[in-house]
């Protein structure tokens, strides 16, 4: 017997999907700029990447506001509780059809591993990308801002490292959406907002 709970509110779903689209687009243009792909060509890729970055910043301003006003930011507070159980589940239990060790509620909609992963993205990968990306955007202002000693090479390397981490996260994240009680359950929830729980 399962029940349905409303976990993802309308803004949250909008935020998630538009962010997903922007990040994937940023990656495509990024690897074009990096010289790995050639889809748009360097000049257009730079312009698109810049526009997409500013759009994402705008989206984040709303998202941060939303998280604080709704108190949803608490969803990212890390916990060690059941972390080991979650790891065991992914390594062993999932293959034996064992019960999921984490019970989803509207107040705790991310499992402990998710919390840690998202927090890592929010606190490490995100800032690395934003700081280096921001510097990249204002490359011509460095001297005026007293940052003349910065090396474009190091800024670029930091940005590239961030991009690789984000890509690895994206792959794992997309895969783990299939780890619900049916392969498409989590995706459906992210679209409709309603998650079925046991």
């Amino acid at each position: 017997m399962s029940e349905r709970i409303y976990v993802f509110k309308r803004f949250e779903r909008f935020w998630h999907w538009s962010q997903a689209a922007l990040i994937i687009f940023l990656m495509l243009t990024a690897f074009d700029i990096h010289g790995t792909l050639s889809i748009f060509g360097f000049e257009k890729a730079v312009a698109y990447h810049t526009t997409a970055a500013w759009t994402l910043i705008g989206l984040w301003v709303f998202a941060i506001f939303w998280h604080f006003t709704t108190g949803e930011w608490k969803q990212y507070i890390p916990t060690t509780e059941k972390v080991v159980a979650m790891m065991k589940y992914y390594l062993v239990g999932i293959f034996k059809d064992a019960p999921h060790p984490f019970k989803l509620t509207t107040l705790r909609k991310h499992n402990p591993l998710q919390r840690l992963a998202y927090l890592f993205i929010l606190l490490c990968v995100g800032p690395l990308l934003w700081v280096t990306g921001g510097l990249y955007l204002f490359y011509d202002k460095w001297a005026a801002w007293g940052l003349g000693g910065l090396s474009l090479e190091w800024v670029a390397l930091g940005h590239t490292i961030g991009a690789f981490m984000m890509l690895a996260f994206l792959i794992a994240h997309v895969y783990l959406t299939t780890a619900g009680h049916t392969p498409l359950a989590h995706i459906k929830a992210m679209i409709t907002g309603w998650e079925e729980v046991d």
């Binding site: 700029i33 990096h34 010289g35 060509g41 360097f42 000049e43 730079v46 992914y90 999932i94 293959f95 034996k96 059809d97 490359y139 011509d140 090396s151 474009l152 090479e153 670029a156 390397l157 590239t160 490292i161 991009a163 690789f164 981490m165 890509l167 690895a168 792959i171 794992a172 895969y175 783990l176 299939t178």
Partner: protein
Amino acid sequence: MDNRYIKATLVLCCATWLAATGPTFAEEAKPEAKPVKLTTTADHTKFKQLQKTFDSGPEVTKACLECHTEAAGQIHRTKHWKWEFLNPETKQTLGKKTVLNNFCISIASNYASCTSCHVGYGWKDANFDFAKQENVDCLACHDTTGNYKKPPGFAGNPVTKDTEFPPGSGKIIKGIDLSKIAQKVGKSSRDTCGACHFNGGGGDGVKHGDMDSSLAAPTKDVDVHMDAEGLDFTCGTCHKTSSHDVAGSRYTPTAKDDKGVQVRGKAGSGNPATCVACHDNAPHKKEARLNHHATKIACQTCHIPTYARGGVATKLTWDWSTAGKRDKDGKHIVLKDAKGRITYESRKGDFTLAENVKPEYAWFNGNVQYTLLTDKIEKSEQRTRINKMGGSPADGKSMIWPMKVFRGSQPYDPVNKTLITPHTAGNDDTGYWKNLDWDKAIATGMKDSGAPWSGKVDFIKTEMSWPITHMVAPKEKAMGCVECHARDGRLTGIQGVYLPARDNNKLVDTAGWTIVLLTLLGVIGHGALRIVTARKH
């Protein structure tokens, strides 16, 4: 808006319109021929001094000097006159009189031919009198008729009476009427400067690549500033001349101009011929990022995507070592390519030519060190640089510049280890272009240069760099980002800058892709295992 204000504006507009249209009606009633608008206040056809027959150039100059009393003195101080320049930084004595190149090599012993491009009359050998005022050639720069010619072989003198040249050849050089030319003098023009500067290296477009006869009346695409139907700049618009001294230098070029726009009256202004002198250091209004590019990259690098764009090919290589072949009748050989350009001449050797040439790029700080006749050189795998262009990414004075690099092979003394100044032009027994005999040509040439020659001749590979600065394209035809921001872009090999798309860190890329690949393999493995185990249950 206030009603009274609108009314007042309307009244004012009507009044202005009446005032402006009033005189037009009057003019229509009494049409009057307007005098031709001259750019000068003097009509030289009216001057008695010029209404006579001139048999020689100096006679014209004497007439000019009657009014323009200081002109010759001003010319006497310039490089155009002296063909001599002391580089204050390197202390090298340079100038056309002294330097060598890898085109026609040098002017020593070839004066009568080379000095057809001197702003003077009669420089036929090393004993030319540089102090004589009437030796200054006013017409070379101030002719407006296009009829003024100084044929090679006459030591810079025009030919006023029909003359057979070379004597006994049957070829007649027509005499020109100096009186008509003198009465039509005016400001210098693209044609007068171009008469010599378009033909550097002995022919149209040969030497520079960014200067050739297409600049006499260029389209906008060839040169956005000189565009004959647009801005219509002359050379002097940028090479702003003061007291007959023309701004700009090949010996001490301004590689980096950080002085900004040259406002009138501003003290300590530098070279007025730079791009920055008009456009300032941050000219890109839409894309501020490009202004940062401009702190390390010369404007010319992006704004002159290729040179020799006007339909005139420029020489890229010249191999003197193959000169001297004769056909089976013992005559000189001239070979041409499909487009009719000379690719081999017995007198000169092998050439390659091209149009729309992509420049090579180098850090350049304006410091140029020449290899002179007095310098010792070693023959090696590396080409000897006739002019060494200073520059590095770290000296704070360099910019990335486009260059025409001209490569060749030229005579060299393997015993004394010096370059050689052969006697080429001249209708005498030792001139190489007549007799194809290196020994005689070199003996005469080196004697004229006052330099020792061992009697041995070898050929040495040389190169010479010419910063590209003319033929600026319209902005929409400037180079796109991807020309340099690419793995094998134009700036491959330029050190000291990080170019996104050209550069990456191997370690970061390898580690990054490894992590991404492992993640991918991990999820695929995990997923496969889930599918397999799900079937069992």
